[in-house]
């Protein structure tokens, strides 16, 4: 809890109230304990209280059971990562207690279920231990045969007491979540919550209160990255999708399946990954940009069809929610190791666009940009997100939906003539003409994966292959020239520039703040447009002695991560080096700081 200031004693005289700016709470239990629900409530509450929030969770890759955690960081200022160290650990079991005690900062609070946890004497001095018989108190509160189901809500009550959370708002959230056909469910939830909230915490000396957040311009919505991405696609006008279930992409297809019919659209669950990209391409050919997506292995399966979309110049959205690879790898862990397959996967020269959103809010807007790039440049666009962004919850200002929602119904009015691959088109940019469009000349196009002439008919002409390859490449060069130069966070000159992408952005920016607060000359840029890369990077790199590309993948045979290698290839600059890791977890701020210091051999990084 940063910036702790002692406040006046609370009314009951038992505990003192302390004002705080932010708190990191880690909840550890098993996957069926409903700990995601507590985290979700806290996140939503923060969103409604105009606070910033970010969460981090791990889930076991088994269906039921297995340890699971949910970490919530709530704050009154900018929250860019889920926090390195927890102020509070809520532990349901001995294994949760022992496994996560190291994530608590010294002097932090360990709130444990004394029915299941026996504190270790050697830790009693280092952390403030608060034992509550959570399981038995829950059973006592609701009675009946429910056993300890509801202990998560009881614990939420405890947290509400400790952090002086708005009980009225939480009660309302409980009503929204549990209010349904069976009134006893809500009644039990409220009973559990009240029991937790009124529980006397004898061992706790202090309670806390969040400082009021600055009023942010507009109401906040609270969701995870997968939800933001799916809703962004809907806002962008996508009305057809096809997919195959795979973690962590499945959430997106489930949401689109549920939501699209309201907008007159359809999402189809296909027999396999190949069918799903093929079906999405077919629908895109039908005239309206369609979406498919997957994670890890599924993306490999889609690459042949992706190559076709590049060759045939078909607009298409492919979502890749990256997870630990290769092969089945670490399905519920985060990694950024699909950059190579996203940018270069497939046979032959098959240019495509790759965008990487840096957070939950960015997922929403990136989806819209991806659709507009696909339409404008008639090209497949990959959205490269990752498990870290997909499953974390953030609060952000509700988008101006009236403004951003767009209608991309195809124009089927007749045309005099049409060449799908017109070589005279400026910058090689041609647009797909949907079937159903009458062509007065009577000459109809074929879209194809064979090398073709301007009308799409096959050719073996070396001249045409050269010209068409150039066409497909040049339109991406044109896009590159249209891309904004990334903004440097921090001064544009200094010792070290950190370069990141995707979920690395938040912790990387906090690392810059940490360096700057110590007087170190460190800045960073985030690369959202991964392929093609924007212009202006050479100029930015010139301002720094070292350029470190921070990413969640392996350093590879040659010692650079995947984006690092691309940047080195493009800029031929030996000062570009990589800082990478593959432990399946998102970057901690401290990790980045330590790794950067180690990389410069402890040399001073002052300006």
């Amino acid at each position: 809890m940063s910036a702790v200031a002692e406040g006046p004693s609370s009314a009951d005289g038992q505990s003192r109230l302390t004002k705080i700016n932010e708190a990191v709470i880690r909840i550890a239990g098993n996957s069926q304990d409903g700990i995601q629900a507590i985290g979700g409530f806290l996140a939503r509450l923060a969103g409604r209280s105009e606070q910033e929030v970010m969460t981090f969770m791990t889930i076991p890759s088994t269906i039921s059971g297995g340890p699971s955690i949910f970490q919530v960081r709530i704050g009154s200022g900018d929250v860019l990562s889920a926090g390195d160290e927890a102020d509070m650990l809520l532990a349901f079991y001995q294994h949760s207690y022992e496994g996560h005690i190291n994530s608590v900062k010294l002097g932090g609070i360990v709130l444990y279920d004394s029915d299941h946890v026996t504190p270790k004497p050697e830790w009693l001095e280092r952390y403030r231990h608060v034992g509550v018989a959570i399981s038995s108190k829950t059973v006592e509160a609701i009675g009946g045969t429910g056993r300890d189901k509801g202990k998560n809500i009881f614990s939420l009550g405890l947290l509400a007491r400790i952090y002086d959370l708005d009980v009225e708002k939480i009660t309302k959230l409980l009503g929204e979540r549990f209010g349904g056909k069976d009134a006893t469910i809500l009644q039990n939830a409220v009973t559990c919550f009240n029991a937790g909230h009124s529980h006397q915490l004898q061992d706790l000396l202090k309670t806390y209160q969040f400082r009021h957040a600055e009023v942010r311009g507009g109401q906040q919505v609270v969701m995870n990255g997968n939800e933001a991405l799916a809703f962004g696609l809907i806002a962008a006008g996508v009305r057809f999708g096809a997919g195959y279930p795979i973690t962590p992409w499945s959430d997106i297809m489930e949401l689109l399946r549920r939501e699209l019919p309201k907008y007159g659209g359809t999402f189809v669950q296909c027999e396999d990954e190949i069918a799903s990209i093929s079906m999405a391409i077919g629908a895109s050919w039908g005239g309206r940009v369609a979406v498919t997506g997957s994670s890890g292995p599924g993306i490999s399966l889609k690459t042949e069809a992706l190559g076709w979309a590049s060759m045939a110049e078909m607009p298409l959205i492919i979502v890749d929610v990256q997870r630990g690879g290769p092969s089945t790898g670490m399905p519920t862990n985060v990694e950024q190791s699909d950059l190579n397959i996203a940018c270069f996967g497939g046979h032959g020269d098959s240019p495509r666009v790759v965008l990487a959103p840096s957070g939950v809010e960015d997922c929403f807007y990136t989806a819209i940009e991806a659709v507009n790039i696909a339409r404008k440049y008639s090209t497949p666009v990959l959205i490269l997100t990752d498990q870290g962004i997909a499953s974390r919850i953030e609060a952000f200002i509700e988008p101006d939906l009236r403004k951003v929602c767009q209608d991309i119904t195809p124009d089927l009015s007749p045309v005099p003539d049409h060449k799908p691959y017109d070589l005279t088109a400026p910058d090689g940019v041609t647009r797909h003409l949907a079937p159903g469009t009458r062509i007065a000349s009577g000459k109809y196009p074929v879209v194809t994966g064979l090398e073709h002439d301007e009308l799409g008919h096959p050719t073996g002409s070396p001249k045409l292959h050269v010209a068409m390859t150039a066409k497909r490449r040049n339109k991406l060069r044109k896009l590159a020239s249209d891309l904004p130069v990334p903004a440097v966070y921090g001064p544009s000159e200094g010792q070290i520039l950190l370069v990141g992408w995707g979920s690395t952005y938040g912790p990387m920016r906090e690392a810059v703040d940490t360096f700057r607060s110590l007087g170190d000359a460190v800045s960073c840029i985030n690369l959202k447009y991964v392929n093609p890369l924007p212009g202006g990077l050479d100029e930015i790199f010139k301002g720094f002695r070292h350029v470190f590309v921070v990413e969640l993948n392996d350093e590879g045979v040659y010692g650079y991560g995947q984006l690092g290698a691309v940047l080195r290839a493009r800029h031929c600059d030996p000062k570009i080096r990589g800082i990478t890791k593959v432990d399946g977890l998102t970057w901690k701020v401290k990790e980045i700081v330590d790794r950067v210091r180690a990389a410069v051999g402890g040399a001073p990084v002052k300006a």
């Binding site: 929204e176 919505v221 609270v222 939800e227 809907i234 806002a235 057809f240 096809a242 019919p261 907008y263 007159g264 189809v268 027999e271 069918a275 093929s278 079906m279 999405a280 391409i281 077919g282 050919w285 039908g286 076709w308 809010e361 960015d362 807007y365 819209i368 507009n372 790039i373 404008k376 952000f396 509700e398 939906l401 951003v404 929602c405 767009q406 009015s413 007749p414 045309v415 005099p416 003539d417 049409h418 799908p420 691959y421 017109d422 647009r431 003409l433 079937p435 159903g436 469009t437 009458r438 062509i439 009577g442 109809y444 196009p445 194809t448 994966g449 064979l450 799409g456 008919h457 096959p458």
Partner: protein, 319 residues
Amino acid sequence: MSELKFPFTPLPRTGGTVTSDPVPPLADSDRKPLTKKEISADHPTWCPGCGDFSVLALYFKLIERRKMWHEKVTTVAGIGCSSRFPYFVQAHGAHFIHGRALPFASGVSLSRPDLHVFVFGGDGDAFSIGGNHFSHTARKNIKMTYVVMDNFVYGLTKKQTSPTSPIGFKSKTDIWGSLDRPINPLKQAIAAGATFVARTTHTNPNHVLEMMEAAMDHDGFSYIECLSECVEFYPGAFDASNPRKGGKFDLVPKEHDVTDEYAAYRLADTAWPGCFGIFYRNPRPTKNANEAKIIEEHRSKVSGLADWEILQKSFARMK
């Protein structure tokens, strides 16, 4: 954050259409049946004598006879000799990757109910690399017509064994004769849940056209198994079904009940060269119709709302 670098913009069309004057719409009364000249494109690259020529000619005839609108005809194919089809048809066409023509066509059919969707392919495309899609497109009953020009051999890659090659067929990959039991496409289709299954042969043009018309009129996934001889790599494969070569062309018995799945399955097992006609025709709701119904139900709950207002309602629950 909320500033889009690539906001929505109306995009001008490209491809030689930019500077020309707008084309007036065509009144229904001005529509004439398309002639062969209007509907044919490149000269087929098939070997002289290939059975596929007759299927192409009859497709033209079908388009002409059914007075299809030029722009509404779509021809989709995967990879193979027969899959070159879209290039030879002067209409919107897509030449997709090997084995995946059916899911591609499904995307077209489900998102564009106004189009005629015809898929052409060979036995490798349909039953080998695309075998999975054949089953699932049939099962989902997605509206389209699928004509498999089955020649029992891989022709484009020059004589390897196909999934329908009979046991003992000598190919470059089975120089001692094929060992694996061939697929019976009709049984496969019936078992997968196809709602229209017919069999014809390129040597009987009238019958091919009759089957195509019946398939086109079927509301659902209609499948035609069309024997189409590869004169180069499997000449004489279908002589037994060609009366001009001393074979016999037997029609499906009049008393056969086309709605009886088991009878159709048994009929599909008739000894070579078997019989020709409609084996199975038993409509059930298409995926197109089922999805449309779901859309209708959901749309009725949000009637009168703009898309952004529907989205706003979802967001209201996430505050």
